[in-house]
């Protein structure tokens, strides 16, 4: 145990002292914030540019009200000019494009014969906006032709909202569902990032010991398994420290941001919505605010916390022992590719499955199966947990993870202890199989 502690300590210090670790810890949050700000800035700039669109309405069905200017798009009526001249003008002038609505006998034909001319291919959102406007006008025309009063249609619009309760009478809302998705997704994504960053870090550390040839000295003092375990734990500790620092930095930044730019942040959000909508949002927000707080406390927080730790460590240990085995099998990092693939695949699959199925249906068969399979369960189960998972499902999943972990560590340790002393030829999968069967 004393030796294991020494190894963990050394691995931790070696990792933390590394320049790239220090740079990554303090620079990457800045980079993230900088990139976010840049994207936001560019988006705003993009929106600020007003697009001028002209329309030629030969059908006479579209009034000025239909093409009312918005913040980003201005419309001009060129009907008097005719489409050919309009097109010329648009091409020469500073216009985004020209919409041509010809005169047709029936609405159906008209709907298919409207054209839009532009220099570059127009943005999807602009086209959808135009189609919406046209649809609305044409639908009104059609309804009127059926003799239906438009006012009735407007009045008949009803939005239902189903209250969701479970059998113990606890209410939940769509909002809290979103929150659950968010928590699960962040946890799953964090785990994947952690495994990728620190799993490969374990691998690199193994390769370093091989190439510097210190490995033979070390294994004459400690068991290879101890060394592998020490490496995995040491790197994980460094990783947790990094995550902790990021967490602190995030809190500090958001505190600074909210105290200095608090008002600005509100503006940013309101830029997209009209004042009436804003008011409505704020009203529902205060109504729902209390509910959210209640809901958060009704989430199985303690259970979530412990399961998060279990799956986080379980997933990391499972994968990093495989990474250690890969590191031991090869002589340098360029040879790792073929062995990395099968490790990365289930990891990425888990995230995809998580985002694709758990969010839609957290208790559907696909979600359930993947939360049992040990290579995907840490991520998928983490995503499912906020939605409440039956204890026996968790038990099966945990048991499978523990069993697989033990088998995989045993296999990885076998490959590791043979691999670290093998130099030269890049091993094949057949070689690895042979190593696993070596005794002692």
């Amino acid at each position: 145990m004393k030796r294991l502690r020494l190894i963990i300590e050394r691995e931790f210090i070696a990792k933390v002292r590394n320049k790239s670790f220090i740079v990554m810890t303090f620079l990457s949050p800045l980079l993230m914030i900088g990139m976010g700000a840049l994207v936001f800035f560019l988006m705003k700039k993009n929106d600020e540019k007003v697009k001028k669109i002209v329309y030629v309405d030969e059908s006479g069905m579209f009034s000025k009200e239909v093409f009312s200017d918005s913040k980003t798009v201005k419309y001009q009526d060129f009907t008097a000019l005719g489409i050919e001249d309009s097109k010329k003008k648009v091409e020469e002038g500073d216009y985004y494009g020209a919409l041509y609505i010809p005169k047709q006998d029936s609405l159906e034909i008209l709907a298919k014969s409207i054209e839009f001319f532009s220099k570059d291919s127009p943005s999807m959102s602009i086209m959808e906006g135009l189609e919406d406007k046209i649809d609305k006008v044409l639908r009104h025309e059609k309804l009127t032709s059926f003799g239906i009063d438009i006012a009735h249609i407007e009045e008949s619009k009803i939005a239902s909202e189903i209250k969701m309760l479970n059998f113990s009478g606890e209410k939940s809302s769509k909002l809290i569902n979103g929150l659950k998705i968010g928590v699960g997704a962040i946890a799953g994504y964090l785990l994947m990032m952690f495994v990728m960053i620190y799993g490969t870090s374990v691998m690199r550390s193994v390769i370093e010991e091989k190439t510097s040839r210190i490995i033979e000295v070390i294994v004459s003092s400690v068991k290879p398994f101890q060394l592998m375990l020490g490496k995995i734990i040491g790197n994980a500790s460094a990783g947790l420290l990094q995550f902790f620092i990021w967490g602190v930095l995030f809190l500090v930044f958001s505190f600074i941001a909210s105290s200095f730019f608090g008002v600005d942040m509100m503006d940013m959000q309101s830029a997209k919505v009209s004042p009436e909508q804003m008011e409505a949002i704020q009203q529902t927000a205060t109504e729902k605010g209390e509910m959210i707080v209640q809901e958060i406390f009704r989430l199985p927080l303690v259970k979530m916390f412990f399961l998060f730790i279990f799956y986080f460590l379980g997933g990391y240990m499972l994968y990093s022992s495989l990474f250690a085995a890969v590191g031991a099998a090869v002589d340098n990092e360029t040879d790792t590719q073929q062995f990395m693939m099968p490790i990365m695949l289930p990891l990425i699959l888990a995230v995809y499955v998580g985002f694709a199925t758990v969010i839609n249906d957290p208790h559907g068969p696909v979600s359930v199966i993947f939360s049992y399979i040990p290579f995907t369960s840490p991520i998928v189960m983490l995503m499912r947990i906020p939605f409440g998972v039956a204890w026996w499902e968790i038990a099966i999943s945990m048991l499978l993870l523990i069993l697989t972990f033990m088998v995989i560590v045993w296999i990885a340790a076998k490959i590791y202890r043979v691999g670290i002393l093998m130099y030269g030829k890049k091993p094949t999968y057949k070689d690895l199989w042979k190593w696993i069967r070596y005794s002692g």
Binding site: R3, E208, I214, V217, S220, S221, V222, G440
Partner: protein, 309 residues
């Protein structure tokens, strides 16, 4: 003299390949034991088994009367042929780490490191990284790390590689001093002149089998050919040579002498003794050179391996 290490019928297989086939040898306490053999003979496999890096498939190893067990690593120091230290770690920290892995306390390790660093006059390197040192300098650090925990058994695999002659001499002196202080040393090398210089005992492994072992002196006696180099200042060389051929086996010689004269290798035959040869020679002229051709470790190595193949 009792044995520090007894290797009894050790077998090691890697899949279908047998690396060690029923190898036994006894290594006496306080000796320098040369473990010799061509490349790929199985030396490294044996050394790794003694270091408990790998386990034998059969056979047992007794260290100082006890069956080899994990706690024995504190009594073994190993300098592998392929040297290595953490490149980006500082010399002092690294030495402390490795010493602690061998079971020394931090304070004790510090004290002993200071002694050795002073002895080798390398105290200034303490805070340097290994990558800043030359190969020879790193080797010195590695040597210190190997012997620091004062192991009963020291295993040196090619200890002189990477050293210039002066530092090689320094290390050889240290190794012999460690022996005099009671350590037992297993010494694996291909440099036969250092075998002559250092080893009390040798064992020769070839193709996974031990083909020879014992006291170097005894082995030399066993391999002696009773051949003498003879240098004689005489006026009638031809006559002397013919006469010698009647009683002895005369072989051509290519050794160098200061004076020109008759130079021959003479092998004793027909129960003749060295004295018979010498007394005849003295009657024929001035004997300038008379030396028994003792087989060198190199000769023994080559002969034994060729015979075995």
């Amino acid at each position: 003299m009792s044995n520090l290490l007894e290797i009894n019928n050790v077998v090691k297989r890697y899949g279908d390949y047998t690396a060690l086939n029923n190898v036994s040898m006894h290594i006496p306490k306080g000796s320098v034991f040369g473990l010799l053999g061509p490349n790929g003979a199985g030396k490294t496999s044996l050394i790794r088994i003694i270091n408990q890096i790998t386990m034998p498939d059969a056979g047992e190893i007794i260290l100082d009367g006890e069956k080899l067990a994990p706690h024995h690593i504190e009594h073994i120091g190993y300098l592998p042929e392929e040297r290595g230290l953490y490149k980006s770690m500082k010399v002092g920290e690294q030495a402390l780490y490795l010493a602690q892995l061998k079971g020394l306390s931090k304070s004790e390790a510090k004290k002993r490191l200071k002694y050795w660093f002073d002895k080798f006059d390398i105290g200034a390197w303490w805070n340097k990284k290994i990558e800043e040192l030359s190969k020879g300098m790193a080797q010195k650090v590695q040597f210190i790390v190997t012997v620091l925990h004062q192991p009963k058994l020291l295993i040196f695999d090619e200890p002189f590689s990477g050293f210039d002659p002066i530092n090689a001499q320094l290390i050889a002196k240290e190794i012999l001093q460690l022996r005099d202080e009671g350590a037992t040393i297993i010494f694996s090398t291909h440099r036969m002149e250092s075998v002559e210089e250092m080893c009390d005992y040798i064992a020769l492994i070839n193709k996974s089998n031990k083909i020879l072992d014992g006291k170097l002196e005894d082995i030399k006696k066993e391999f002696r050919t009773h051949t003498f180099q003879v240098g004689l200042a005489t006026s009638n060389s031809k006559e002397v040579e013919d006469k010698l051929k009647q009683n002895f086996e005369v072989l051509p010689a290519d050794f160098k002498l200061l004076n020109n004269g008759l130079k021959l290798n003479v092998k004793l035959t027909n129960g003749n003794s060295a004295n018979d040869l010498l007394s005849y020679l003295t009657t024929q002229g001035e004997v300038q050179h008379f030396v028994e051709l003792v087989p060198s470790a190199n000769d023994i190595f080559i002969q034994a391996v060729n015979k075995n193949s």
